[in-house]
């Protein structure tokens, strides 16, 4: 870092600062009032420094003239005035805004108060034109060196873009929001133009023009900020001229056009928000939306203080776009409205037309009827002719009715009908009208129910109108009802009556319901007796009801029925007073009910007697559906009439329509002509037979071609029957019925079979043909295959299940298919891709392939019946595996091992077993193991083995098995049950462990013990002998003390002897060598003996006896004595602080109970259970507190047990202990003292 070290370094403050820094440094300040820079006041230097180092636009004005200095960021603000602005007085620099800023500067300079202005509008002129700018700036006074304000420092922020942007966005939003309600184009334009006045800054004034339809002119549609009368405003401007406004270019290119000379052209113009007039205007295109959109243009007088730059243009374009949108919306509305108007217009026209037509019709019809009736009524008319005349008459009437209805309607519309309301007994009148229909209804096999009770008052109706209402409703009901009933009901309410016409007909679909009363509305696609009808009847009904100020409603359930409900008010208050009881204007145009009924009867089939022997009827009430295709309408009618009493016929004109009808709803029979346009009979037949869904529908062909060939051709083509025209009605009916019945029964049985298939829990598949096309696969099959029916149905088997190829099924199927020999497969494994992921899963099947034969016996397919046995197979495999594992394990253990089934039959031995016993499987099967068991042990073994099996308990026993060398060795045998998941025993697992060694060791131990104790006794004997000898000698010699000592020694030797004896006894007990020598003896005397002996061992205690009467016991006297001794010794030992011990006996339940009580330390409860265990000793403070081997109680317990007695203890710690044992007084003959039994 180098520092300029020259003495007057006062220009350091001008260092840096970029361009301005440089300029300031090199400026000749001396020529300004500021003087040379070096001599500037410190405060000025300071603020200049601040300015130069700031990145905010800053200028400084110093001195009374406010000489201007500024920094680099400020350059943009001075714009074109840079660099001249430097060093000039502010007044000069900013002369154009001087009036605006002077007061603020004065405030700062003179009043020493800082100013702050936010987004202030300043019309600057820094680039040679006036500019709208907004700045946020502050003037801060800076003190001079000699007091007072030296100058100001100003920081600036350019807010122009923000301010302008905000207002523009606001306008656009407003345009979008507030023009959405405009309903016409004109309104849209007006509204838009109006809204433009909300931004008078950017749009001082504007004119909106629309292009005329002819494309030659623009017509004014809206003005903004300018009067319509203004000279610049023209209502229409031709496109081909440039004056006054050059639209053509703009409309053609859709690009804006700038006009500079508007002031010259138009003189004074509105200024909008400014004081200055715009000197430029722009024409921008308002784009049409779509092909038919309305095009326009917007003329905008431009902000004089802005350049028409991209930003300004962009904004105006957006404005035009908004306007375009609102025009488009309004246009859409307009079009919609026009459409609605057009429709109304059409409707009106139609009505008018009908009115004319019907009028014109009536005349000739009426003129016709007369003569027709004459001929009909003339008795001379030939019967054949009469028939024909009848037909003519009927048709004429029908036509007349139709015309009348139309006429009525149109007159209603024109308001030329006026009702004449008369008091009427509505119930009776309605019944009269309705009963005209009775015979027709009943002839059709239906019921007419009239529930028309007398009302409490007459109802005011126009009689003719009411007639029309009832007749129309009933006629309608009849037309759409084929079975069940038609009911007419009248119900009285408080102030109105309700009439209902209810039928059990085909009903009306919910979506049709709201339209039912519409004029010319006929219900589509619904079964009805006749397709005739103009659809006007219900509409008329509605109008007539309305004339009565009533209401009519309809409710319906398709397939169930329809109900029309009319509500009429009682009384006359609701009716026009002048029409009550007035004479009728409605000419009785209706030849009343007669016409209706006549028409209806036409819909009934001709009455023909069905001949006897007719093929079995299709059940009444059943209406099979037939599709009839014939291009001749008369023929269609004729056939329909013939069959429509029992069948529902859908009649179409050609094969194509027939197919559609068939596909829509499957018929039970198809009647078709042969010659028809678009698709003839044979083609139709082919199409029907080709598709599996329709192939079964019987098809009867009707043809004009006679002769055998035609018949054969028809049948060969697959037709079920062939009728040649003309055919008798009877013939047709018979064949139709027959074929339908046939098809039904076939279908029934197929259905039953199908149901069976579908519900079977096994997989059933029907394969047809040599490629085994899957004709049927029941749900179980699909589930197993993991496929949907689309995947496999109607495809060859191996196409639907490609992964099954090559798994061996093809040859099996082949054999069945070719030889007709069924195949039974058991647990065949097939790999299937059940999840569609390519992963194959193994499935096991047990299945049958059966050949299927056709009527002549040829094999035409294979039926598969299969069970998925995967689970069983896997389970079995698992079981086998685990058994194998078991066996492997068992083979490798050193023990002999074997497995038995639930019943205990051993079915497997491990190899060691065979090795040891030297046997073969042959030899030991069927419980052959018994051979190798030591015969001595065998009975006990058998007994305990079976007990284990029976009680489901593990078995454990030691017995000897014979080895291959013939010697018997002891084995510890264990057998445990193996259970399954539910806990049931499935097999037994056993081992035999050679314990010879073990036994030998035990024996050695025993021997050792035996020897040891023997060895111990020997020296004890001599020691004792010496001791006693010495004791005598010393006594003789008079040495009392010595003699006493020796006596003590002797006592100890006794103890030692006793211990040794115990040890010996234990050994014997353990090795089962303890022998008892039972003999009867007197118990009490034994007790006394023992007590005496024991008393001799203690001076501290007194042993007291509380004996019951004595008994004679049979037992080993010595051993029992040992028990008593043991208990007494214990009592003495464990009551060091007490001084009394009791011995008691008690007789109870054939037992003598002996108790030894002490008042010693007691035994804690938890230790009591261990007392009688071998080696168990009561702990004292030290190991030797209570000496002894701990064998005494164990031995005593054994002895008592062997005598069939029990021994127990009662004790409380710190209080004392009572040991008790019981001995039976006599033993049952079979009981004997228990021998030692081996326990493993």
């Amino acid at each position: 870092m180098m520092r300029n070290e020259h003495p007057a370094s006062s220009l350091d403050f001008l260092a840096g600062g970029g361009e301005m820094g440089e300029r300031i440094r090199s400026f000749d300040w001396a020529s300004t009032p500021l003087g040379p820079a070096e001599q500037w006041p410190q405060s000025l230097k300071t603020i200049v420094r601040i300015m130069l180092t700031s990145s905010q636009p800053i200028w400084i004005g110093w001195g009374p003239d406010l000489i201007k200095l500024y920094n680099d960021p400020y350059k943009a603000i001075v714009g074109g005035k840079h660099p001249e602005a430097l060093g000039q007085p502010v007044r000069v620099v900013w002369r154009e805004i001087w009036p605006d800023i002077a007061p603020k500067l004065r405030t700062a300079m003179e009043d020493n108060v800082g100013t702050y202005d936010e987004a202030a509008l300043l019309i600057m002129e820094r680039y040679g034109y006036q500019e709208e700018t907004y700045y946020t700036f502050s003037y801060s006074p800076v003190p001079g060196d000699n007091g007072g304000v030296g100058g100001i420092i100003c920081a600036n922020t350019d807010d122009t873009a923000r301010i302008i942007g905000e207002r523009q966005v606001k306008l656009l939003q407003t345009l979008a929001a507030e023009t959405s309600d405009a309903r016409t184009i004109g309104e849209a334009c007006r509204l838009s133009a109006e809204l433009l006045t909300r931004n008078p800054q950017d749009i001082p004034f504007a004119l909106l023009y629309l292009l005329d339809q002819d494309g030659k002119q623009m017509t004014l549609a809206g003005t903004s900020g300018i009067e319509r009368q203004h000279p610049a405003v023209f209502e229409q401007v031709a496109l081909d001229q440039d004056a006054p406004w050059p639209f053509a270019e703009v409309m053609r290119t859709q690009k804006p056009c700038l006009i500079d000379d508007i002031q010259q052209r138009f003189g004074a113009l509105p200024t909008g928000a400014w004081k200055k007039m715009p000197h430029q205007a722009a024409i921008l295109a308002v784009a049409p939306s779509g092909q038919t959109g309305q095009a326009g243009a917007l003329i905008v007088g431009l902000n004089p203080y802005r350049l028409f730059d991209e930003s300004y243009q962009g904004f105006l374009k957006l404005v035009c776009s908004q306007i375009s949108n609102s025009i488009a919306n309004a246009q859409a509305y307009e079009e919609e409205r026009k459409r609605a108007e057009a429709l109304e217009e059409i409707d009106r026209a139609k009505t008018l037309f009908f009115s004319n037509v019907s009028h014109e019709f009536r005349t000739p019809l009426t003129l016709m009827l007369g003569p027709i009736e004459e001929i009909r009524d003339d008795p001379n008319t030939a019967p054949a002719n009469r028939e024909r005349i009848e037909v003519a008459h009927r048709n004429a009437l029908r036509l007349l009715k139709l015309v009348n209805t139309l006429l009525d309607f149109s007159r209603l519309e024109a308001g030329r009908i006026q009702a004449s309301y008369e008091a009427t007994d509505l119930g009776i009148y309605t019944a009269e009208l309705a009963s005209n229909f009775r015979s027709a209804i009943e002839k059709a096999g239906m019921k007419l129910t009239l529930d028309l009770p007398a009302l409490s008052e007459p109802i005011y109706v126009d009689r003719d109108m009411w007639e029309k209402i009832i007749l129309n409703l009933l006629s309608n009901a009849f037309k759409f009802t084929f079975e069940g009933e038609i009911a007419v009901r009248l119900e009285e309410r408080r102030d109105h009556v309700v009439l209902q016409v209810q039928d059990t007909g085909v009903g009306i679909a919910p979506d049709q319901l709201p339209l039912i009363f519409e004029r010319f509305r006929r219900v589509e696609g619904v079964r009805s007796r006749s397709y005739e009808g103009s659809g006007i009847g219900l509409s008329l009904v509605q109008e007539l009801v309305k004339l009565h100020k009533g209401e009519v409603e309809v409710t319906s359930t398709p397939g169930k029925g329809t109900t029309f409900t009319i509500t009429l008010r009682k009384g006359t208050a609701h009716l026009p007073a002048d029409r009550i009881g007035a004479t009728r204007t409605l000419q009785s145009t209706a030849l009343s009910a007669a016409i209706y009924v006549e028409e209806m009867s036409q819909w009934l089939p001709p009455e023909e007697e069905e001949p006897a022997g007719f093929p079995a009827e299709i059940p009444a009430g059943d209406r099979p559906r037939i599709v009839l295709a014939d291009d001749n309408a008369d023929m269609r009618d004729y056939i329909c009439r013939l069959l429509s009493d029992r069948f529902t016929i859908e009649a179409v004109a050609n094969g194509k329509q027939a197919l559609e009808a068939i596909r829509r709803a499957r018929p039970e029979l198809v009647l078709t002509d042969v010659m028809m346009p678009e698709m003839d009979g044979f083609q139709l037949l082919q199409a029907i037979k080709a598709h599996p869904d329709t192939a079964r529908i019987p098809v009867i062909m009707l043809s004009a071609r006679a002769g055998e060939e035609a018949t054969i051709e028809g049948v060969r083509a697959g037709a079920d029957d062939y009728l040649v025209k003309p055919f008798s009605a009877r013939e047709l009916r018979a064949r139709v019925i027959t074929h339908i019945k046939l098809a039904r029964s076939r279908y029934e049985s197929e259905r039953k079979l199908f149901d069976l298939f579908m519900q079977a829990p096994a997989a059933i598949v029907i394969l047809r043909g040599p490629t085994y096309v899957v004709e049927l696969a029941n749900p179980t099959t699909l589930a197993i295959w993991g496929r949907s029916s689309e995947d496999v149905l109607h495809k060859p088997l191996f196409e639907g299940l490609p992964e099954v190829r090559g798994q061996g099924l093809e040859p099996l199927l082949e054999v069945v298919y070719t030889t007709g020999v069924p195949y039974v497969g058991n647990e065949l494994k097939v790999a299937l891709d059940r999840t569609g992921s390519g992963q194959l899963e193994d499935v096991y099947f047990t299945f049958v392939y059966t050949p299927m034969r056709d009527a002549v016996g040829t094999i035409e397919g294979v039926m598969v019946f299969a069970f998925d046995v995967t689970e069983q197979v896997l389970a079995r495999q698992r079981a086998e595996e685990s058994e194998l594992r078991f066996r492997t394990l068992a083979d490798n253990i050193p023990n002999l091992a074997w497995m038995a089934d639930r019943g205990g039959r051993i079915y497997w031995y491990n190899s060691r077993w065979y090795e040891y016993t030297g046997t073969t499987p042959e030899q030991v099967k069927d419980q052959g193991w018994e051979q190798v068991v030591d015969p001595q042990d065998l009975p006990a073994v058998r007994r305990r083995f079976h007990r284990a099996l029976y009680e489901h308990e593990p078995f454990e026993m030691v017995y000897s098995l014979r080895g291959a060398d013939g010697t018997y060795r002891p084995f510890l045998t264990r057998m445990v049950p193996i259970r399954d998941a539910e806990g049931t025993i499935v097999q037994w697992f056993g081992t035999n462990t050679d314990i010879t060694e073990q036994k030998r060791l035990e024996r050695q131990k025993d021997e050792f013990l035996g020897i040891a104790s023997h060895e111990l006794k020997t020296p004890v004997t001599s020691i004792k002998a010496y001791t006693q000898l010495l004791e005598r000698r010393f006594r003789k010699a008079g040495d009392e003390r010595a003699s006493e000592l020796l006596k003590k020694m002797d006592m100890q030797l006794n103890k030692l002897t006793s211990l040794i004896a115990d040890l010996l006894d234990v050994t014997r007990i353990e090795s089962g060598k303890l022998l008892f020598h039972p003999a009867p003896f007197d118990y009490n005397s034994l007790i006394q003996e023992v007590v005496e002996e024991a008393q001799r061992t203690t001076t501290r205690h007194t042993i007291l006896q509380e004996l019951g009467p004595s008994v004679t016991l049979t037992g080993d006297r010595e051993r029992i004595g040992q028990v008593l001794t043991n208990l007494l010794t214990n009592a003495i030992k464990y009551s060091p602080k007490a001084d009394t011990i009791y011995v008691k006996t008690e007789l109870k339940d054939n037992m003598v109970i002996t108790s030894v009580l002490d008042f010693g330390i007691g035994i804690p409860a938890e230790k009591q259970q261990h007392l009688f265990q071998r080696f168990y000793r009561v702990e004292g403070e030290t190991q030797m507190t209570y000496p002894g081997l701990g064998l005494g109680l164990y031995i005593s317990a054994e002895f008592v047990k062997r005598h069939h007695g029990t021994i127990w203890v009662q004790s409380e710690e710190g209080k004392g202990t009572t040991f008790s044992f019981s001995l039976p007084l006599s033993l049952a003959p079979e009981e004997h003292l228990l021998e030692g039994e081996q326990s493993a």
Binding site: T1021, A1025, R1032
Partner: protein, 119 residues
Amino acid sequence: MSQKKRILIADDDPAILDSLELILEDAGYEVITTGDGATIQDLVQMKPDLLLLDIWLSGWNGKDICATLKHNEQTKHLPVILFSASRETEAIARDAGADAFITKPFELDDLLDTLEQHL
């Protein structure tokens, strides 16, 4: 006769022999001891008045000797007392014809009493 009675003691253990000798001599008997090796003949030739034999002797069997003596006309009048460390063998002793049976270790008084009884 006021001559001292001669008692023959036979046992494996020298200590027992020695202590018994002292005891019996103190009690006024004449004592002959023999350990092992001696035959029955030898024993008889020593002319004892009573034999005190351990039931299990190494070499020869106390109970067999007893049985032999008891079966012999000439010797069956001789009182034989068998003793043993084990109580269990009492039956065996009786079977062998012993006049009495004493368990080791014995009480001096008991022994002396028994001896007196059978002399």
